[in-house]
């Protein structure tokens, strides 16, 4: 399977997906750390991909997403944004609403 197909599959199969440097427990970049903290504070299960351990995805995703850096939060197959957008949406409460809705919708499907 090509890298782009892998990315598409990940995005399609995970309603809430964070591409980040490191893991939620051990983030290895300040921006990823802040982003994952904001996502975790929403209290729903989410998937993550550590791009430091997936160099192919790290190389391809920025082109596919038209977004040059990490972290990247994808919800329902759509790019929501990076650290700045995630944190801004967390501050307004919009992130929690969006994540709760996505979690509920994907739970309904299962």
């Amino acid at each position: 399977m090509s890298v782009v197909d892998t990315i598409k599959e990940q995005i399609e199969n995970n309603a809430i997906l964070l591409y980040m440097k490191g893991t939620p427990r051990f983030p290895q970049c300040g921006f990823s750390s802040r982003a994952v903290e904001a996502v975790m504070s929403c209290g729903e299960r989410f998937a993550f991909v550590n791009i430091l351990e997936n160099p192919d995805i790290r190389a391809e995703l920025p082109k596919y997403a038209n977004w040059p850096t990490f972290p990247q939060l994808w919800i329902n197959g759509e790019l929501v944004g990076g650290c700045d957008i995630i944190c801004e949406m967390a501050a307004t409460g919009e992130l929690k609403e969006m994540i709760a809705a996505a979690a509920q919708a994907s739970g309904d499907d299962a």
């Binding site: 440097k21 490191g22 983030p27 290895q28 970049c29 300040g30 921006f31 990823s32 750390s33 802040r34 430091l52 160099p55 790290r58 038209n66 977004w67 040059p68 850096t69 790019l79 929501v80 944004g81 990076g82 650290c83 700045d84 957008i85 944190c87 801004e88 949406m89």
Partner: protein, 106 residues
């Protein structure tokens, strides 16, 4: 020309800018580079009616030739003039480094 100047030139060429604040935050991160991490605050009427992700993509697109090399991180705070007034010109602080480049060979 410094990276900051190149960045500002590209932005001025592509956007109608009302207010620009560009900070070099490279000192907050590990690694030898001195022009790698920036924080950019932009206020432009061009952002009106565009979602945050679209605004960011537009700005990243304008400065694409500088991204990855030499710029490693570009924190963006993009507002319309109206939003900028509403938030009183407040800009969040950027995070400090967590040492990713030490394990990061990419």
């Amino acid at each position: 020309m410094s990276v900051a100047e190149q960045l500002e030139n590209l932005l001025q060429a592509g956007l109608n800018i009302q207010h620009i604040q560009l900070e070099n935050e490279s000192h907050m991160h590990s690694g030898p580079a001195t022009e790698s991490h920036f924080k950019l605050v932009l206020v432009s009427a061009d952002f009106e009616g565009r979602r945050l992700v679209q605004r960011h993509q537009q700005v990243y697109g304008l400065v694409a030739e500088l991204m990855q090399n030499p710029i490693h991180a570009l924190a963006l705070h993009l507002h319309t003039p109206e939003e900028w007034v509403a938030r009183n010109g407040e800009v969040p602080l950027s995070p400090t480094c967590k040492g990713g480049s030490k394990v990061d060979k990419g």
